[in-house]
């Protein structure tokens, strides 16, 4: 029952995709490789990323005219298959930022941007990142302070974007900012004037982050994605996609961790019995399995809602991240406890899963933040106070 995917019903093509990804991760970036990458500033190798791109890691959300294409017509549903395998294998690489950028420009970008960026992104030759959150680390539109000013010299961007995944690997960033006080998105070259990238790390073994500071950085009008001041809906959709992929990845992380922990506990003896014959541990595992199954159901429903453009997708995204973000981290944490002392050593793999879970938990809004957003949405539906 562990190992069942988020999507129970897959086409043959999707099944083959899943198989290919899993084999690729096992062969090309096994956990020993992930350990090696811990010491490498970049966190992944470009040649490997181009190979991954050939398997479809970069193309699922991209406009078909520029090399993109989905397997099933449901782009999020396809990408969830990939995200889950990435979680299972703790694969490195800028999967999420590249796909969010590809989705955004495929949806609202000019032909000029698409031509400039999409083929290179899809081929894995370029990396573009999503620069959204600011100092406080919150992924909500009302946290935006970066501003695009209209001047005699054209549009100039000023502000600082934090927690930008793979910032140091990227040539371009999709930046969210206010123009005339309204949400706007634009692609900005990171080697242009007025742009500085500060490298950073995270608790994860391979995922690197950075801060991008813009000071009167020029924004080409044709590189605004969508209309100036009209980006709210697109930004929400990008957030929903990010949360959907992240939830699937968290499911992969937690499912795999519970799976190998159970394998370990079946064979480990104490007091003359396998430790997993002790009732209290079994009951905790039963709860974890229940949480996992519910998480898979939620992640699947969210992917579908985002693909279908359901009005309810936002609420479901908050629900899913609040639930899965919390439960996945708890599952990995309790697996550490079941594993025992060896689980808090470097030698054992579980800390790498714990790292990924801790990162994903916080990124794109923590469970606590999503739960509060959800409550506010519910509150609004009840109507004004009397």
């Amino acid at each position: 029952m562990l190992g069942l995917p988020v999507q129970l019903q897959m086409s043959d093509e999707q099944e083959a995709f899943r198989e290919a990804i899993r084999r690729f991760i096992e062969t090309e970036v096994p956990l020993s490789k992930v350990r090696d990458l811990y010491g490498v500033a970049e966190g992944f190798e470009s040649a490997w990323w181009q190979e991954a791109a050939r398997l479809g890691w970069t193309s699922l959300f991209a406009d078909e005219r520029y090399g993109g294409g989905s397997l099933s017509g449901g782009r999020v549903r396809d990408a969830v298959i990939l995200a889950e395998e990435i979680g299972r294998g703790l694969a490195p690489g800028p999967f999420l930022p590249v796909n969010i950028v590809a989705a955004a420009i495929s949806r609202g970008g000019s032909d000029e941007i698409k031509t400039e960026l999409l083929p290179a992104l899809v081929a894995g030759e370029a990396v573009a990142v999503w620069a959204f959150a600011e100092r406080a680390g919150r992924w909500t539109l009302n946290g935006l302070e970066a501003a695009i000013d209209r001047t005699g010299d054209g549009l100039l961007l000023t502000g600082a974007k934090h927690y930008v995944e793979a910032a140091d690997n990227a040539s371009h960033a999709l930046v969210a900012a206010l123009c005339d006080g309204l949400p706007t998105q634009a692609i900005v070259r990171l080697d242009g004037p007025g742009v500085a990238v500060r490298r950073g790390r995270s608790i994860d073994m391979t995922r690197r982050f950075g801060t991008i500071c813009f000071e009167n950085a020029p924004v080409e009008p044709a590189w605004v994605v969508g209309e100036v001041g009209q980006a709210a809906e697109a930004l929400h959709q990008q957030l929903h996609i990010a949360v959907a992929l992240q939830c699937a990845e968290l499911v992969g992380v937690a499912d795999r961790t519970l799976d190998f922990t159970i394998e370990y506990g079946r064979d480990r003896f104490a007091f003359g019995r396998p430790i997993l014959s002790f009732q209290e541990l079994k009951h905790r595992i039963a709860d974890m399995v229940q949480w996992l199954e519910a998480s898979k159901a939620l992640a699947g429903a969210l992917a579908e809602a985002v693909d279908e453009g359901d009005a309810d997708a936002g609420r479901l995204a908050h629900t899913a991240k609040a639930y899965i973000g919390d439960k996945a981290a708890r599952i990995v944490d309790d697996c550490v406890q079941i594993t025992g002392g060896i689980g808090v050593t470097w030698e054992h793999d579980i800390h790498m899963y714990n790292r990924r879970a801790a990162l994903l938990r916080a990124l794109y809004g923590s469970p606590e933040e999503h739960k509060e957003e959800l409550y506010c949405l519910l509150e609004a539906t009840v109507g004004a106070s009397t």
Partner: protein, 418 residues
């Protein structure tokens, strides 16, 4: 479980149902129809017991056809036969008799059961037994062509309003615990000689749905045996399996979800918004604990139908076989506890104090007194966790202290302990 060849295609069946439902079932906005009357309406048009063979009164189709029927009815906003009595009778006892009964037994009992004419219940638990149902001490002795039943059962739902009970009783006391049990149908009419049925008073002071039964040498025809003598535990396990499924609203007991189209919208305007409204009215809507608890209730309620739908899909696809009902039952009954906890928090003193000399029952305090019913009945949460870990996941079993002992020996050891 998917449609065998020769079975009516789902799409075809859906079309047929759509017309019939629209023409026959009352809308949800109408006054609630008696569930048994609705069940008879379904039966008489061939829509009761959809996955049961036609020769026993069913429609000879599959669980997926049943799912399609009920989902359609909800989509069309129509009433369906619901309630505990039918859930137990049609969702639990029906499939158990179908699996273990002889052709004669099925022909005799199933049509009346599926039509709702005969309500069936289970008689498994005993006063001293708790979760250990295989420890039954009710005695069943063969006497020529009859059996004689002596003992008592407890926690039977609605026995005072039912027609038959399927009773687990011991036929061999020298066999190991699980191998000396048999299952027999007991008529529950008050006229049955030797039978006394008493309702159990609930913690809230009312007569609840549970009963206790006393059997004083009740004589039963041997044709009432369901399954062979001494394989009663297998029959009971089938029954318990269907019970968990029915409680979780999957399998034979599936009656659909009364919800709007959007999954996260399930129950939405209902209880959660009530709680938000109460919190606001009491001025605790900014209280962080209260917000937390209410948000958690919403999340659990959004997750439940999604989990159930996933298991239903998995059952149809074959990815989910076996004891998945336990997982859903656990999830559902534990979420219900949290729902009451949130109500207590939102309501504060208003949830436990009221005006007037009457004993009020519709408040969170009273719900709290009864809340554990859900995590105990139908197998306690502890039993569900045992089943999930040992049977679904295959983790090593708890070492048994009864292995290889006759039941008489088990009793002797227990008595020496007490």
């Amino acid at each position: 479980m998917s449609g065998a060849s020769g079975t009516e295609a789902l799409s075809e069946f859906r079309r047929r149902c759509q017309n019939w439902i629209a023409a026959n079932l009352p809308p949800k906005s109408a006054p609630a129809e008696d569930p048994v009357a609705l069940q008879r309406l379904l039966f008489d048009s061939g829509y009761a017991g959809i996955p049961f063979p036609e020769e026993y009164g069913g429609a000879g189709l599959t669980l997926e056809h049943q799912q399609a029927f009920y989902d359609l009815a909800h989509e069309l906003g129509r009433q369906v036969p619901s309630g505990v009595a039918l859930m137990v009778s049609v969702g639990m006892l029906g499939p158990t008799i179908l699996e273990h009964g002889s052709h004669e037994v099925k022909s005799r009992f199933l049509p009346g059961l599926l039509r709702g004419d005969d309500l069936w219940i289970q008689l498994l638990s005993e006063p001293r037994g708790g979760s250990d149902m295989a420890g039954a001490r009710t005695r069943l002795v063969r006497d020529g062509d009859s059996y004689v039943l002596t003992g008592s059962k407890m926690w039977s739902t609605g026995a005072h309003q039912s027609d038959y009970g399927l009773c687990l009783a011991r036929t061999d006391w020298e066999a190991p615990k699980h191998r000396g049990l048999s299952m027999i149908a007991v008529p529950l009419a008050p006229t049955t000689p030797g039978l006394v049925v008493q309702q159990t008073r609930s913690a809230d002071g009312t007569m609840g749905e549970f009963c206790e039964e006393f059997f004083d040498d009740i004589v039963l025809p041997s044709e009432n045996l369901i399954g062979e003598e001494n394989i009663g535990w297998a029959v009971a396990q089938t029954l318990l399996f269907h019970e968990r499924n029915a409680v979780a609203n999957v399998g034979y007991g599936y009656i659909g979800w009364d919800q709007s189209e959007s999954p996260a919208g399930a129950y939405e305007p209902g209880r959660v918004s009530d709680l938000i409204g109460i919190a606001r009215q009491r001025g605790v809507d900014q209280n962080s604990s209260v917000r937390q608890l209410i948000a958690d209730v919403f999340i659990e309620e959004a997750v439940l139908p999604l989990s159930s739908a996933r298991v239903m899909t998995g059952m149809a696809l074959g990815t989910h076989e076996g004891q998945w009902g336990s997982l859903l039952k656990l999830q559902e009954s534990e979420a219900a506890i949290e729902r009451v906890r949130a109500a207590l928090a939102a309501c504060g003193a208003e949830g436990v104090i009221w005006e007037g000399d009457d004993i009020e029952l519709d408040n969170p305090g009273t719900s709290w007194l009864l809340a554990r019913g859900g995590t105990l009945a139908g197998g306690s949460s502890e039993m569900q966790r045992n089943i999930i870990s040992e049977r679904l996941l295959g983790l090593p079993r708890e070492p048994s202290v009864e292995r290889g002992l006759s039941f008489n020996e088990v009793l002797r050891r227990q008595e020496s302990f007490e």
